[in-house]
Symmetry: C2
Subunit: 191 residues, 2 copies
DNA sequence: AAACAAAACTAACGATTGTTAGTTTAAATT
DNA sequence: AATTTAAACTAACAATCGTTAGTTTTGTTT
């Protein structure tokens, strides 16, 4: 019984390289070389370069989907839900930094069916997020403001968290978990 | 005297394609075909594919640099400065959507010297932004919160504004100009 | 009409791409 | 020890890449 099988190892290494140089800039020979083998040997473990990308992107996308499906129907305030979503983004960012970067940068290089699966998950996620936010505004838990702008601002920050996290890892994760929800939800200007 | 010379036309078309598919996924033949000519003909106007990328990225980067260099030393509140910076991002987003997308997605494909120029401009920009923010916190114009998290959150939203803008152009630009600063600076939760 | 410049063309180059076929080595199972 | 399986290898393929050289077409200026 292997702790990590070769396919997983290939995908993890691919994610690291894709993140650094982008999907199209990483050749199968680059990837093989990083693993200390020849390019042809990769095909004993994976079907194609495209399969590697789809495993990376869809795995993370499913994790987001699963979480929001769990949070969405709960009987708590919209603020609590938003906080839970933010925490989840932070955790995925920490645990799957490279995968998340691939999802952000290279999803458009997914082939037809994989691309459609991804886009569906992404739309469903945004739709649930939107409903939570609108619900909070209706119940006066959140300020009434253009919801699309708020959605965009929060989701964009969460999606690109990995850019910042890998640069400033000196700051404690706990500080991030405490201060990011404040920044995103409570605002900035003194009052 | 030409209204738009051929080189400019090539660069504009390239930016459009780079944005959609990424720098590495767009071949010189793709670009030529989009312009109705053959790939070799492009080289009557440009030196290399790399030159196209650097013209796109560095042109936008210089525009940001110029603006913050103008705002930075002014004798106004830090809030006013931040508002001006946000307005500038919105304007560049509207006027140079494709260029901005290229800067965000493909800057890492710049070759050595171009890459260094870009990174220097980017660092200088962030440094000035940071100083404006810290100054505002010292003067109690802004809430005291982890500045790196705030910087990240605001800059990330501004940088990726183009993603949202091109999707939701139905919303008036004026709404964006009014609501985005509020969202980024005033926060969300009712009080 | 002749001369010139600009901008397109055809053809081809060497390098690199993802991938396949067939073979050999190493490890696990009988 | 013999057999089977897993995972590496070499070699090569057709396609595509950015780019160059040399030529022809087009449009403008003398």
């Amino acid at each position: 019984m292997k702790v990590t099988d070769r396919k997983t190892e290939i995908i993890l290494t691919a994610a690291k390289l894709f993140r650094k140089k982008g999907y199209n800039a990483v050749s199968m020979r680059d990837l093989a070389s990083e693993l200390g083998i020849k390019a042809a040997s990769l095909y004993n473990h994976i079907k194609s370069k495209q399969e590697i990308l789809s495993e990376i992107v869809l795995q993370v996308a499913e994790r987001f989907t699963t979480h929001i499906d769990e949070i969405y129907p709960q009987e708590v305030s919209s603020i609590k839900k938003l906080e839970a979503i933010i925490q989840n983004h932070i955790e995925i960012t920490i645990q799957q930094t490279d995968f998340l970067a691939c999802l952000n940068n290279d999803w458009m290089h997914l082939a037809e069916e994989n691309l459609q699966d991804y886009l569906k998950m992404r739309n469903d996620y945004e739709e649930k997020f939107r409903k939570i936010l609108l619900d909070g505004m209706v119940k006066n838990e959140l300020e009434n403001r253009n919801p699309e702008i708020v959605i965009f601002s929060i989701l964009t920050t969460l999606r690109t968290l990995y850019l910042w996290y890998s640069k400033k890892s000196s700051i404690e994760v706990e500080v991030l978990k405490k201060d990011l929800p404040k920044t995103l939800l409570n605002g900035l200007i003194q009052n």
